[in-house]
């Protein structure tokens, strides 16, 4: 089995052979960083290429060429685009996203507040949906191809097929309008009590849970099923182990990696998918903030929100990959 390995001994290759896990992790992180820079170019370039202009929108009827030029000079828009990009990027990496053109406030300050609200909403949805999805997945494996499995399957398919704004409006119609048990709009403000806050975000949370639940549930089911049909599970059964021990000791360590992966991917989707839901429920988070900024062409805010969403998405994806890499015994214990 062990042929003598004959390679040109490049220093990078030797490091890779001695620490394959570390090398892979470092590579993955560098890749994420590169990706983030690439996305920043796309965001900046995209915003730059958008039709319309803050100065003309802001001045409205009184947009004389002179007034427009004045505002452009004041905002520094007359300078070359490359210079502005690097200034923006340097600021962004230090947490400074400049000042909003519309409100003349620091973008970072406003974003900080809003991001907290968004993460609260997404986090709360995750706390409910992850255990629920994994639990339902295990349940449908247990009742595989029988009634409960089929019911869970159909309902989750239906939930995945409906767009989130539609689910949102349905929930508002029934729970806020018809039965009056929930609050709408989902307004939160500073100094609000925790319980009050939970009550306010009940409907948007439910919407998000419904959207991500089905995907996570189905992937969990598939991951467990593929592990359960493997030869080592038969070995466990032929050793006379109890079903409980077989699942906990032999199935779980192998099913964990794919499940962690799909959970992390869905968390990323939660944070980004929050945009539409926030607008539907008039929730003061990042999504709402970004949509408002787009309507008045407040570019620093749009860019900041875009970059933060991208960073969260890339980070969670990276986390998913890293966990999957670390969970692989072949990489943890090289030959």
């Amino acid at each position: 089995m062990s042929n003598p390995v004959e390679t040109e001994s490049l220093p990078g290759q030797r490091f890779r052979e001695r620490f394959p896990l570390l090398a892979l992790l470092i590579e993955r992180m560098l890749l994420s960083l590169l990706l983030l820079v690439a996305v920043s170019v796309l965001i900046f370039g995209g915003v730059e290429a958008l039709p319309g202009d803050f100065a003309t929108t802001y001045l409205g009827q009184s947009a004389t060429p002179q007034a427009v030029a004045n505002i452009r000079a004041e905002l520094g828009l007359d300078r070359p685009v490359v210079t502005r990009y690097f200034e923006w990027l340097a600021g962004a990496f230090q947490g400074d996203f400049g000042t909003s053109w519309a409100s003349r406030n620091s973008v970072s300050e406003q974003v900080g507040n809003r991001l907290g609200n968004s993460l609260f909403l997404a986090g709360f949805a995750a706390v409910i949906s992850v255990p629920l999805a994994v639990g339902l997945g295990m349940l449908s494996v247990h009742f595989r191809n029988r009634m409960p499995d089929k019911i869970i399957n159909v309902i989750s398919l239906a939930a995945i097929s409906l767009p989130e704004f539609f689910i949102g409006y349905l929930l508002i119609l029934y729970f806020a309008v018809n039965f009056g048990v929930a609050t709408f709009p989902a307004t939160v403000y500073e100094g609000m009590g925790f319980i009050e806050r939970l009550k306010a975000i009940a409907l948007p949370t439910a919407t998000l849970v419904l959207v991500v639940l089905a995907h996570m549930m189905r992937m969990t089911r598939a991951a467990i099923l593929s592990v359960m049909s493997s030869a080592y599970m038969e070995t466990a059964e032929l050793k006379g182990l109890s079903a409980f021990r077989a699942i906990v000791k032999h199935a779980a360590p192998n099913a964990l990696a794919p499940i962690i992966n799909v959970v992390a991917l869905n968390l990323a989707y939660l944070v980004v998918g929050v945009v539409v839901v926030e607008v539907v429920f008039v929730y003061p988070g990042m999504g709402q903030y970004m949509v408002d900024a787009v309507t008045v062409r407040d570019m620093p805010v749009v860019q900041a929100c875009g970059l933060i969403f991208a960073a969260v998405y890339i980070f969670l994806n990276m986390l998913a990959d890293i966990l999957a890499i670390v969970a692989n015994p072949r990489l943890r214990h090289p030959r």
Binding site: Y232, T235, K239, G240, L241, H250
Partner: protein
Amino acid sequence: MPELLSVRNLKIEATSYPPGEPPKRITIVDGVSFDLQKGKVLGLIGESGAGKSTIGLSALAYGRGGAEITGGEVSLNGTNILALGKAGIRKVRGAHVCYVAQSAAAAFNPAHRLGDQVIEASVKHGLMTKEEARKRGLYLFRVLGLPNPETFGDRFPHQVSGGQLQRAMTAMALCPNPELIVFDEPTTALDVTTQIDVLAAIKHAIEETNTAALYITHDLAVVAQISDDIMVLRYGKTVEYGSVQQIIEAPTQEYTRALVNVRQTAREEAPDQSQALLKVDNVSAQYSNGFKVLHGVSLHLCKGQTLAIVGESGSGKSTLARVITGLLPPSDGSITFEGKALTPELKRRPRDELRRIQLIYQMADTAMNPRQTVRDIIGRPLTFYYGLRGAAKTARVKELLEQIEMSNGFIDRYPAELSGGQKQRVAIARALAAKPELILCDEPTSALDPLVAEGILKLLMKLQAESQLSYVFITHDIAIVRAIADSVAVMHRGRLVRFGPKSRALSPPFDDYTDLLLKSVPEMELGWLERVLNTRRMASAGN
């Protein structure tokens, strides 16, 4: 002496779900009975589908993939284990009866260390403490000849070789001191040179611990070395059941005789000619990461002859075929075909060069599109190389089917509707359709049962005699080499260690590797294993 295991009138059924038809009950095992005494070994032998694994698993009251034991009795020490119920049978499995799977690589959990898995059953059944179990594991690792037995248990399955894993699985089965072990083709997936070590280790270990065993295999020569009795099975029924001596030396049934005599043919080699069809000259090859897989290989093949390339997995024999086809261009050296240099890269080869060299693979299954009928599979090269369409194409496909001894009725079948042997025949017809001069055969019979494989080899020989075809035949099976080759190349670790006409290559004086390879091939002869091991012992004592 009371029987340890007594099986009476065993009947095992399963439900199959053929596409587009109502579910069907099929009988896998029908009316099989046998007895096994303490410390004895019974060999179960038959082709795939004979029900031998299913019978083996019935000793653990287990049905794989929906198989159900619907009739008969399986008694262990006088208790019918089929009537024990779920909790009862769990106390038998892994304690009184243990199982060794064909693929230890799949049967070990990749997430746990080998040592923990080996002792798990013994500890969980309360047979011994963790400390005692570890000690016994260590003892068994030694008995089975595993390297560094003290630290072997700390390793993960992916960190050891296939032969070592198979021995570790045997240790896992022996650890709880069971009365019976079911070995399910434990050496089939191994190279011959590894197989003999594992076989010897298993034999030594079951003798040492006085454990009874059911030994399942399709290789009569292997089972003859290890069993006391043999049961020959076909289509789920007993063909013949008797002592190993009677089965090997005086079989009473036609089918058993065919199994005993399989591949005893050898063909006369054709003389070496000065003009070679294929000439491989000092060829080296490496993967894109710089890993060198072939070192300066030179050989040649004459028109209408067969060159057999033998070696174990990882020896570079398939890589050489990839180099000849152009899938992996050589890093050094040249290949000439009919005196002209072959284009190194597949993508640059002109269509006529492609046509003249065709391939047959080990797995006919994965080499065919499951959504195409036999007509499309064989017809594709006819259109690609000769532009045949419509009636002309159909006529030629029928002609080719006749050549491979299959009737016209198969023309609209899908691969899933063919047996393993029929699929390989269709693959041969697809290669023939191009009217090639050379066919590279990459272990085309190693996934087939012996009698089916023999039919394929005969077909290849017939086609060669008819149309002066040349073959490069890659195999790890020396018996096949004797049966079909004119010249032989032996490969080891990417190097050619021996090349020449068969009579010269396969007779002494041998180099070390060829000697080991030839001596490792099981022979249909009682006491062969002991004889080989004795000569080895004497040789190492002499050193």
